[in-house]
């Protein structure tokens, strides 16, 4: 008997209320409910979280390593995009 590979899921856990869900890893599960249960067992058994998201890995669109230069390199020499680039003039209050 041949079996289809079990789908892969990406797991996001929110550690405490008010913070973002953070990617913690991935796992296999045949459907969404079992993916949530597996995530609970694998990633929150030491009280790591208060909320879990699971997303089919296939649904994630990722940037390609080949596009690294056009995507990310141009930002490298533009420090003025950081607020810390600017010096605050003397006498400016409430900034």
């Amino acid at each position: 008997m041949t079996t289809a590979p079990t789908p892969l899921w990406e797991v996001f856990v929110r550690p405490v209320r008010g913070t973002n869900h953070v990617h913690v890893g991935s796992l296999h599960a045949s459907d969404a409910t079992l993916a949530l249960q597996n995530a609970r067992d694998l990633y929150t058994r030491r009280s790591e979280g208060v909320s879990i998201w699971v997303v089919p890995s296939a649904a994630i669109v990722a940037s390609s390593p080949d596009e690294k230069d056009p995507y990310f390199a141009p930002a490298g020499d533009k420090p003025y995009r950081h607020p810390t680039f600017y010096t605050i003039p003397d006498g400016v209050e409430h900034l």
Partner: protein, 260 residues
């Protein structure tokens, strides 16, 4: 459990309560031992961890119950787990059944966890405060066990033709052993009279109410209630139990006091 944790107990158990606690502790201990046999053998690594988690929850319950029950006669949890003979274990036969295939393991887990859920929910208001505290902690763990096993029984029963066939066969295998969970005896009667624990037979309606709809949804047919094997509560066990016990006790008996 450490001595300091035990000293927090309001009072030592009576002989009956001690025997009752050991009985419930044996159920949890033996099923934990069965479940860890899946370690490194489960169908997926994710399920491997899930089963180990459930086994550890059960082991934790067993430790609390055996420590409390043993405190009556000055025995530790280790004395009770590792140094009793087969006939002195009072777990139901259901929990010692061999794992079989994954379907047998999951059906057994569903039937047992659903029973434990009804039991612990009632025990939360036990006249014995120590048992009430143990049940209050365990009931949350068991609610998840029911959910996990239920999810799998649903998918196996209402899955492929082959998985349905095996899930139905598993149900036929395990079902007769569920009756012992709800069998009353003298000890259970005295425990109920004193408001310490529920009469087992009174738990069956609630249990059936949670198990039956799920089995129906899983397209499984409830076996007819015919054969009702029993004896575990009085120390009579199936052939498979001796092998389980040998594996459980071997290390401690070969190297008394070993720790790591």
């Amino acid at each position: 459990m450490s001595e300091s944790a035990l000293s927090a107990a309001p009072a030592a158990p009576t002989a009956d309560i001690a025997e009752y606690a050991i009985r419930l502790g044996d159920d949890a201990l033996i099923l934990a031992q069965r479940l860890i046999e899946w370690s490194a053998h489960a169908p997926q690594i994710e399920e491997d961890v899930a089963l180990a988690n459930i086994a550890l929850d059960l082991l934790g319950q067993a430790r609390s119950l055996l420590s409390y029950g043993g405190s009556y006669s000055g025995k530790s949890e280790d004395d009770l787990a590792f140094l009793r003979e087969e006939r002195r274990f009072h777990n139901v036969q259901l929990v010692e059944l061999e794992n079989g295939d994954f379907a047998v393991t999951m059906v057994r887990q569903l039937l047992f966890s659903a029973y434990q859920y009804e039991l612990y929910r009632t025990l939360e208001s036990s006249a014995d405060s120590q048992l009430a505290a143990i049940a209050g902690k365990a009931v949350k763990e068991v609610a998840y066990h029911v959910e996990h096993a239920g999810s799998w029984v649903l998918r196996l029963g209402d899955g492929t033709e082959l998985s349905h066939q095996r899930a139905q066969a598993a149900l036929e295998t395990v079902w007769p052993f569920s009756h012992e969970l709800f069998a009353d005896d003298e000890l259970a009667g005295r425990i109920a009279d004193r408001g310490v624990g529920p009469l087992p037979s009174l738990l069956r309606d609630g249990w059936l109410g949670s198990v039956q709809p799920l089995l129906t949804e899983a397209t499984l047919t409830l076996p007819e209630d015919g054969w009702r094997p029993s004896g575990g509560r009085s120390g009579l066990h199936t052939q498979a139990f001796g092998y389980l016990l040998a594996e459980l006790q071997h290390l401690h008996r070969s190297h008394p006091g070993a720790s790591w």
